[in-house]
């Protein structure tokens, strides 16, 4: 009955809804980045992966939901405010900060040896059977192989390094494994994605699946993809990792969040990454 009433109401509401229509959907646009090595086209829209086919046809990068000016910042590395953090990451990569003077470079040579890694992370480590996010690998080298105090999971050192390593896979298609040893973690992540947390009782899916494309006050809701992470957030004037973004989104539901780097958020990261299987790694993106 309510549905009929709402339809009648539509006539009144139509003016308002039309006024918002320009915003309603992701913007049709193509991301071609001017890089030092020429132009690079990024896949920001793709058919949904099989496991999502029953809920959506197309997956879209969050880039499509941002204003013209924000999208433009990502078209040229020269304009992209996130690039300085990737550059800073390279300085850290070469810095001989280990207890015995090691740098990342002493064992890994150039960061380009990690080409392709970002596109398959998170993944289950073959040796330990643990679900690893990029931060875990970096942290184990920092503490176990360089003898340093752990880096803060969402600290500057960690995010600079995430930016540098992500850039090595720019343009590569995200393809995280969800079967085999990854499956239990993936199932856990999926369950959490659909759990309505907090006093506002909202799940990731309520905002990023049911209402993607809609406006929640002034915010244009995207699919909450992470192919663009780490991202430079204009609002914070700084870099934000996926783990950090999850903390913010759960907090906003008036919930007790999970910690960045917790088992729960790692499982969510795997699941969310898998919803973007088919999109390209953006390297470092810009959002507002």
């Amino acid at each position: 009955m309510r549905r009929t009433i709402t339809t009648q109401l539509a006539a009144t509401a139509l003016g308002l809804i039309l006024a918002g229509a320009a915003w309603a959907d992701p913007v049709e646009d193509t991301l071609v980045i001017d890089t030092d090595d020429g132009e690079l086209e990024i896949v920001t829209k793709a058919p949904a992966p099989d496991h999502l086919k029953d809920v959506m046809d197309t997956i879209w990068s969050g880039w499509h939901y941002r204003e013209d000016e924000t999208r433009d910042l990502q078209r040229d590395d020269f304009d992209n405010p996130a690039m300085v953090f990737a550059d800073r990451g390279l300085d850290r990569w070469n810095a001989e900060i280990g207890a015995n003077g090691e740098s990342c470079a002493s064992c890994h040579q150039g960061p380009e040896t990690f080409k392709g890694l970002r596109a398959v992370m998170p993944r289950v480590d073959e040796k330990t059977g643990k679900l690893m996010i990029m931060e875990d690998y970096i942290q184990s080298c920092v503490t176990e192989r360089m003898g340093l105090e752990p880096w803060k999971v969402t600290g500057d050192e960690m995010k600079d390094m995430l930016a540098l390593i992500s850039m090595q896979s720019r343009g590569e298609i995200v393809n995280v494994a969800i079967d085999g040893p990854a499956q239990p973690f993936w199932e856990k992540g999926k369950e959490l994605y659909y759990t309505r947390f907090g006093q506002l009782e909202m799940a990731c899916a309520n905002c990023h699946e049911d209402n993607q494309g809609m406006m929640i006050r002034a915010d244009h809701l995207s699919q909450g993809q992470i192919n663009g992470f780490p991202t430079y957030r204009l609002k914070d004037a700084g870099m934000v990792s996926a783990q950090q973004r999850f903390v913010g989104c759960v907090r906003d539901t008036r919930a007790e969040t999970f910690a960045a780097g917790s088992d729960e958020f790692k499982a969510i990261e795997l699941y969310v990454a898998s919803r973007g299987n088919g999109l390209a790694v953006e390297g470092v993106s810009v959002r507002h």
Binding site: I5, G198, L200, I216, V247, A255
Partner: protein
Amino acid sequence: MTRRAWLPALAAALVCAAPALAEIAPNDVVFADGAVEASLTGTPGDPVAGAKVMTTNALGNCVACHQIAAMPEVEFPGDIAPALDGAADRYSEAQLRGIVIDAKHTFPDSFMPGMYKTSGFIRPGNGYTGKASEGEPPPILTAEQVEDVVAYLLTLKD
């Protein structure tokens, strides 16, 4: 807001500050098909204060999801939920009260948060701090604020 409109809003704020008498507590609210007959306070709400609650982020923040033609001054209202114009033609006072208190009794699985609800949550937080709530969190709106919002919604007739 005009100067005259301030007065009732102010008065309402004072009423809220006073200890509540004979209020129905969130866990004692009785729903019948989603509707709540009894006023939570026993006192008629103030529509002007209600409008303020609806447009204040930290309170009802109804405009995050709903558009309301009678509130053209609200910048960037959301469009997730039906426009509220004519709500009083579609629903009775008791139904509107039920929707504001906890819309999930009217619309199962609704995206709309329960505004006068303190239990049944998964990992409730202490407001927007990200920390755990100590015990049941206070409701998002007080009983008076709920009645004020209902009073405002009752003015929304086509």
